[in-house]
């Protein structure tokens, strides 16, 4: 039986309990034994992306400790957090050090959820049923840092009853950007409102993203706009029966 370590991500941990439960149940249903390292906190991306490299290193050390206890692959519901571990952890520690080696080793076995499904488990149909009109927002780090262009759509394509509606400017940032939302709130708002406008115009009743950050932003924006369009993490859609 394959094992996977659950990487909650701090946004998932704080805001998306149901998504994490669904992720656990889905993976178990696909025959994966879940390992949950309780010492995990945050990946340190907020510090890294805002120029606080020393602080990011501190947080990363905790992550490396937490996930080194098992040799199982690490799976998280966020392309952005996974990219931090996969691409930026090795940069955080000088080559030749033990920490660098650990970072490189951990980076080699961290996967974003849809990536893990499609490329490791080789599953593209999880048997989900969702008879709705669904559109999709391609999250920036998921798309550009992780290079995941087709995985989410492949999984959505296999869902029974789902009608896929392409989103205008699907690959344009929704304005989340982590601390960006509080650093430049007016710019973030304008970008979010553009994204919401395209979603409203799509004719879909559900919008999917693979990123807790974009989800918070888009769901909040839709609510503010008085829309009943549901914003969902792809995991929650794939858990629908």
């Amino acid at each position: 039986m394959p094992q996977a370590q659950l990487f909650l991500t701090c946004l998932g941990d704080q805001f998306y309990t149901r998504t994490l439960q669904n992720m656990t149940l889905l993976l178990e249903r696909l025959g994966v034994e879940i390992v949950f390292p309780p010492e995990q906190t945050c990946c340190g991306q907020p510090h890294f992306n805002n120029g606080f490299e020393r602080e990011a290193r501190q947080v990363a050390r905790n992550f490396l400790r937490a996930f080194s206890r098992s040799e199982a692959p690490i799976v998280g519901p966020s392309g952005s957090c996974v990219s931090m571990v996969k691409h930026h952890y090795p940069e955080l520690f000088p080559p030749g050090t033990v920490e660098h080696e650990t970072a490189v080793e951990i980076a080699s076995r961290v996967y974003e959820f849809t990536e893990y499904l499609v490329h490791v488990l080789k599953v593209t149909d999880v048997g989900a049923v969702y008879p709705h009109k669904v559109t999709y927002h391609a999250s920036c780090h998921y798309l550009r840092e992780m290079g995941l262009k087709t995985e989410a759509k492949t999984l959505l394509n296999a869902v029974r009853g789902l009608e896929f509606i392409p989103l205008t400017e699907e690959e344009t940032c929704c304005g989340f950007g982590g601390a960006f939302t509080v650093t430049y709130p007016e710019v973030s708002r304008a970008m979010m409102e553009n994204k919401v406008r395209t979603i409203l115009a799509s004719g879909a009743d559900t919008v999917i993203t693979c990123e807790p950050g974009c989800l918070m932003n888009i769901a909040g924006g839709l609510h503010k706009a008085g829309s009943s369009i549901r914003a969902m993490h792809i995991i929650d859609l794939l858990a629908s029966k």
Binding site: E55, H141, V182, M191
Partner: protein, 474 residues
């Protein structure tokens, strides 16, 4: 006209953006993005060309002294004069001296970002010399009294109605909001000036070291007039614009117009090697090349940051940047805007002046995806954020102390999992005070900066308990 700023307040600017600016910018850039995509799709080797272009630019800026010396030799051999300007003030003085020596009263200018950088028009005007911009966009913003808001489309932020109003007010005529008619009016004014001007000032897209050739890529033909009609041609060019040879030029010419406007080639590609050689030839009698450093040598010390000088000024990064498209070019406070401006100004002016700019990005990476010379813009943004937050060998930290304290405290809490877990138990309780139904419509500072645009989902933090229950229940 852009003066060198002393502090760039990106946030303050973005709090009050006239809605006409993003509307105009999004319309224009949308056209460029579509055009670019079509041209890229036609060219099967586009990715390979980008890599070659990136390699050539990197090689050139890493061996800049060699290529600049070669360029200077070749320009001189072709009968031109080379001037080295260490600072903006030096460059202005060189141009003013030339103007005085030739008894110049009227200067016609073709589009040049280097002269925006050194605020040359102000210096000329202060010396009693009329300087007229002849690129239509530059002419418009000169009339409006502002700097450019886009690298290649300086007046991109203005609608045709606004331009008509500017023409009517400044030229004292009845100008209709019709692009063809507005162009005709501008042409009428400019033609007469071209014939009278004693000096033409230009920039350059490239300087070919191999032959000392200045290359200009334009669409309006005004560049040719400026560089051929007056007896004196002065080009003001940043030292980063040099390329090794004509073979490399072919690579950049394939990439530039495609990336910029979505054209295969721009309407005019002009090659200038020295002044006229014989009385029977056309063209200026004297050609002067002012090579502008203005801090570039200092930036070259930074192995990652200096990649900003790979830039060939196509503006593709701005055209796809969701931040730029919502704030316009003036938010960046200096003559180069958009993502490239966000990594240019903080290095050229220093982080004390431009520390807000590296943060003016969600790090979405759209810019790096289209950059024809593969400048790692997100990586340089992070690098400059590090300079702002922590300081490095080039500059001390400039991030306000309270933010640094928050970063330190939060990192400490996140590095001790028991503190984090304790917080995850307390936070939902505290935040439940602000919860209304399924949302937190307004949260206390600093989350209030989030909730002023959209509500926050409630803090649930319930997974760990669920997992624990399930484990013990099984």
């Amino acid at each position: 006209m852009s003066e060198t700023p002393t502090y760039i307040g990106f946030e303050t600017y973005t709090e009050h953006i006239p809605p006409s600016i993003p509307a105009a910018v999004q319309q224009a850039t949308g056209r460029f993005v579509g055009g670019r995509a079509a041209r890229v799709a036609e060219l099967p080797h586009f990715e390979q060309l980008r890599q070659i272009a990136s390699d050539i630019r990197l090689h050139t800026i890493e061996n800049l002294d060699f290529y600049l010396e070669r360029l200077a030799e070749q320009v001189t051999a072709a009968g031109g004069h080379v001037h080295w300007a260490a600072t903006a003030e030096d460059a202005r003085q060189i141009v003013l001296d030339l103007a005085r020596r030739h008894n110049v009263h009227l200067v016609v200018k073709s589009k040049s970002m280097a002269t925006e950088e050194i605020a040359l028009n102000h210096a000329l005007e202060a010396a009693g010399i009329e300087a007229l911009e002849t690129d239509l966009g530059e002419y418009i913003i000169q009339l409006a009294g502002t700097g450019p808001s886009h690298i290649i489309v300086p007046a991109v932020h203005l609608t045709k109605e606004e331009i008509a109003a500017i023409f009517s007010e400044k030229l004292g005529i009845e100008a209709p909001a019709d692009p063809v008619e507005l162009t005709r009016i501008a042409r009428q004014v400019l033609r007469e000036k071209f014939l009278r001007a004693e000096m033409g000032i230009s920039g350059a897209n490239f300087l070919v070291a191999e032959t000392g050739t200045l290359v200009m890529v334009t669409n309006e033909g005004n560049g040719r007039m400026c560089t051929t009609l007056p007896d004196l041609h002065v080009a003001v060019v940043g030292i980063d614009k040099v390329i090794p040879d004509w073979d490399s030029l072919t690579v950049f010419l394939k990439l530039l117009a495609r990336s910029a406007t979505g054209q295969k080639l721009s309407t005019y590609t002009q090659f200038i090697t020295g002044p006229r050689r014989a009385e029977s030839e056309f063209g200026p009698r004297e050609f002067h090349l002012v090579l502008l450093d203005n801090g570039r040598s200092n930036v070259l010390r930074d192995p990652l940051g200096r990649q900003v000088f790979k830039c060939i000024r196509c503006g593709a990064c701005a055209n796809v940047c969701p931040v730029y498209k919502n704030v316009g070019g003036f938010a960046y406070g200096w003559f180069i805007s958009g993502p490239i401006g966000a990594i240019f100004a903080p290095q050229m002016l220093g982080t004390p002046v431009a520390r807000e700019l590296p943060y003016a990005s969600t790090l979405c990476g759209a810019c790096a995806e289209v950059c024809p010379v593969k400048i790692p813009i997100p990586a340089i943004l992070r690098h400059l954020r590090r300079r702002v937050a922590e300081g490095d060998s080039l500059a001390p930290a400039t991030m306000p102390a309270p933010i640094r304290a928050v970063a330190k405290l939060s990192a400490f809490a996140l590095a001790q999992h028991w503190i984090y877990r304790l917080g995850a138990r307390i936070l939902p309780l505290v935040m439940s005070i602000f919860r209304r139904g399924d949302w937190i419509p307004s949260a206390p500072y600093p989350l209030s900066r989030w909730t002023k645009a959209r509500p926050l989902p409630p803090f649930t933090a319930g997974f760990r308990q669920w997992w624990q229950k399930r484990k013990t229940g099984l």
